[in-house]
């Protein structure tokens, strides 16, 4: 009898601890309000976040505000890091070929975008899509979607992952799902046997979206990982 009581009390204590612990949102996986920005335009959402302040300057220089705010669009947002990486790559190139003291800074990029030099202004539209690419639209295999840049399309997928760094754990039967944004250099036939996730590195390159499904008043925003370099520039 005494033993049974001890077991019972232990069970109650364990349950109490478990219940209490689970109230923490970082354990339960608190679902954020995807409609937090549903009354804000895509441009205003970007403008409200310091992590996009360089991107906003680029959008202003390109005069893309209206295009980004158009109804029913999807925008893949670039954090400052992705643009800084681009400036670093360009700086490295001019330093090693033109002048060791040169810098290819943000002023250079804004000048290029404003004047559409090397079609940089047009190229920004590779991140803009004239349809709402929400979770229910995107597929595990992925699909080519035409971007705002003429003749350009991106492979976008909403796929399951077995990467433990992305939340996968073999103890759970439900796989985490993430959005990937990719470009291919050579033709690639996408089908269930050859999904986006299997694109070889010599065929295309893919970027993880770190924050996704932000519903704005006019469309959807997915945020590209900071490892991305603007325009898919290579080192």
């Amino acid at each position: 009898m005494k033993n049974k009581l001890i077991i019972l009390f232990s069970a109650i204590i364990v349950m109490l601890i478990a219940l209490n612990s689970c109230q923490k949102s970082y354990i339960t996986g608190d679902i954020q309000n995807v409609n937090l920005y549903s009354h804000t335009t895509t441009y205003d959402y970007l403008k409200s976040k310091p992590v996009f302040d360089t991107l906003v300057q680029c959008i202003d220089a390109a005069g893309l505000k209206d295009a980004i705010n158009a109804n029913g669009t999807t925008f893949f947002a670039l954090t400052n890091t992705t643009i800084y990486s681009y400036l670093s790559v360009r700086t490295g190139r001019v330093q090693s070929t033109i002048n060791q003291n040169s810098k290819w800074g943000l002023d250079s990029l804004l000048y290029y975008i404003t004047n559409n030099k090397n079609r940089t202004r047009d190229s920004l539209k590779m991140y803009l899509f004239n349809q709402k690419l929400t979770y229910d639209v995107l597929t595990n295999t992925g699909k080519f979607y035409s971007s705002g840049l003429a003749k350009d399309s991106a492979v976008i997928s909403y796929e399951t992952t077995t990467d433990p760094h992305l939340g996968y754990n073999s103890n759970f039967t439900t796989y985490p799902k993430v959005i990937y944004f990719g470009h291919v250099f050579t033709p690639y036939l996408l089908n269930n046997a050859n999904p986006s996730s299997m694109i070889p590195s010599n065929v295309g390159t893919r970027v993880l979206c770190t924050t996704t499904g932000i519903n704005t008043s006019n469309g959807v925003v997915h945020v590209l990982a900071p490892s991305h370099i603007l325009f898919f520039t290579l080192h």
């Binding site: 400036l87 670093s88 700086t91 330093q95 070929t97 002048n99 060791q100 810098k103 800074g105």
Partner: protein, 352 residues
């Protein structure tokens, strides 16, 4: 009752082990440098202990205490050094003072043998010491407990100790080099045949070093006239802004003249903390001041073998003028205080 009795047994007031020893019983000190021995293992002896060197013996067993009791001026710290803020000669010197010290001392409480730069005044050789240890129990003499070997080392470490000389080409005024850069006119490794290094220690004081860059005919390049220049670091906001160079290591004492660059350095080793990768100084000779010989691919070399100009089997002709800057990486670290002259004769370049 019995257990109470045991607890009440009188305890000795301490312990002085008869078998104390150094964990490594020989100590090799390169003269002119600050070096420490391993510590004395007290073998359970009560602390605090007080250690004292009683006698020094030379290799023949003769007492040579008089050699080691003589004091010399030695520069020491008076406050904690901070490499981030103490970057100039003046700020470092404000934390340094010169005291009269014997070249070899013992740390009174740990028994560690400390050799300071004044060892440069001692005759090289092997010495043994008697150490007297005192604690609460009494005094004990540890006979011939440690062997001290005084040996010479480099006053200045360059190739191959700190790194190696590297010579190459860069596109004029850029950070990039040609694709065949490692095949022609370059060398990176030990025993660099494309330059002759001469290091002379001129005096014990002051702490000053001068650098001279000569072309193959002995004509100096003028740092004052920007004929030898430091190189910017790459990137958007590089930190530090320049690749390592003498000026950035001694911003307030660096002097560039028509024939040399010199600087006063506050302490050894100098540089004490690296501003980049290891201790290497990076320089370039802008193309306007130089003709450069082309050599065939040269991947390794033996000591004492130098490029012989047009007579050399590696000689391939000359690079086009105004196309390439000459680049050189100099490994450098000063270990022993003093005044030095370093001359680098660059065998593949002609001043123009």
């Amino acid at each position: 009752m019995a257990s109470f009795m045991i607890k009440c047994t009188k305890v000795e007031k301490g312990y002085l082990s008869p078998t104390m020893a150094y964990s490594v019983s020989s100590f090799t000190a390169i003269v002119g440098r600050t070096v420490y021995s391993y510590t004395l293992v007290p073998d359970g002896s009560s602390i605090p202990m007080k250690c004292k060197i009683l006698h020094f013996y030379n290799a023949n067993g003769k007492i040579v205490d008089s050699l080691f009791t003589k004091t010399y001026p030695v520069s020491v710290w008076t406050a904690a050094y901070n490499p981030l803020t103490d970057v100039t000669y003046a700020t470092i010197m404000a934390k340094r003072k010169v005291v009269q010290m014997a070249p070899i001392n013992i740390n009174e409480s740990s028994g560690v043998i400390e050799a300071n730069p004044a060892t440069i005044y001692l005759p090289l050789g092997s010495y043994t010491i008697d150490v007297q240890v005192t604690n609460v129990v009494g005094t004990q003499v540890l006979k011939n407990i440690m062997t001290i070997n005084l040996v010479t080392g480099n006053n200045i470490d360059t190739s191959p100790v700190t790194g190696s000389y590297s010579i190459g080409r860069l596109w004029a005024n850029t950070a990039g080099g040609p694709a065949n850069g490692s095949s022609f006119g370059s060398f990176n490794g030990a025993n660099n045949p494309l330059l002759i290094e001469t290091i002379t220690r001129v005096a014990d004081t002051p702490n000053i070093i001068s650098f001279k860059f000569l072309d193959k005919n002995g004509k100096p390049f003028s740092p004052k006239n920007s004929e030898i220049m430091k190189r910017p670091n790459s990137g958007l906001n590089p930190n530090p802004p320049f690749l390592q160079n003498l000026q950035d290591y001694a911003p307030d004492t660096f002097v560039a003249t028509d024939s040399l660059m010199s600087l006063k350095y506050p302490l050894v080793p100098f540089p004490i903390v690296s501003l980049g990768n290891g201790f290497n100084m990076y320089y370039r000779i802008p193309t306007a001041f130089v003709h450069i010989d082309s050599t065939s691919s040269w991947t390794s070399n033996t000591a004492g073998n130098y490029y012989k100009g047009t007579a050399d089997t590696h000689f391939k002709g000359y690079f086009k003028d105004d196309k390439y800057d000459y680049s050189i990486r100099i490994p450098l670290r000063i270990n022993v205080p003093g005044s030095y002259k370093i001359t680098l004769k660059l065998l593949t370049v002609t001043h123009r």
